[in-house]
Amino acid sequence: MSERSAERGHPRDEIQDHLKPLRAFALSLTRNSANADDLVQDTIVKAWTKIDTFQPGSNMRAWLFTILRNTFYSDRRKRKREVPDPDGAYSDTLYEKPSHDGRLAMGDFKRAFDQLSAEHREVLILVGASGFGYEEAADMMGVKVGTVKSRASRARARLAELMGLAEGEDVLVAGDAATMGIMGKSGVQAA
């Protein structure tokens, strides 16, 4: 049975091709490797079980990422340990001034990234690092494209703020609005 499935290239056999990105995304959300591993394992089991809901020919990675982030947020709701905070209202958390020599030190950056809400880390990784477009990210996150753009913009501003780049907020939001205008016209975001 499973042999015949393999010959026909059953979508289930593709799951293993996405393990690295899945774990990288899980790490971005959890910032903790044990939790990331648990999350990936739950995602694998769910994906395996509901493989019939995968549309052949569509983007398997996006489908798996969606399962993973939905699992993450629903676990979090169940635990109720962290308050959902899409726009990062932890305003008093970190105000250390890095020596600003024009480059962002990686250590400072990672510390600031860790301070972001999961929603902000998610949107930044999806549209800023993992190569998904705004439309795909919107589908995965279950929100409108405009929400993805504004959330990404606020997340960048928050990140700049956490790194002590005082003018980050104005600077980045303004920059993003300009970019959004351009992309709004073309309607498509070049990944």
Partner: protein, 57 residues
């Protein structure tokens, strides 16, 4: 005069995009670092188990 104003604006713009570019660069590094980590064997073991269960039923 016009020229001078333009120059100032451009200077600010390049500051903005510089911060933004650096943020995006660093985001890619964070993600790339995570991608470079070894995939734990337990994930493949889990897939094998699921496959076996499927075949047995």
């Amino acid at each position: 005069m016009n020229f001078a104003m333009k120059k100032v604006e451009m200077g600010e713009d390049s500051d903005k995009s510089s911060i933004r570019n650096q943020i995006d660069e660093n985001l890619k590094k964070v993600y790339q670092d995570a991608l470079n980590e070894e995939v734990p064997d337990k994930f493949r073991d889990l897939l094998e188990q699921l496959k076996k269960k499927e075949g047995g039923s």
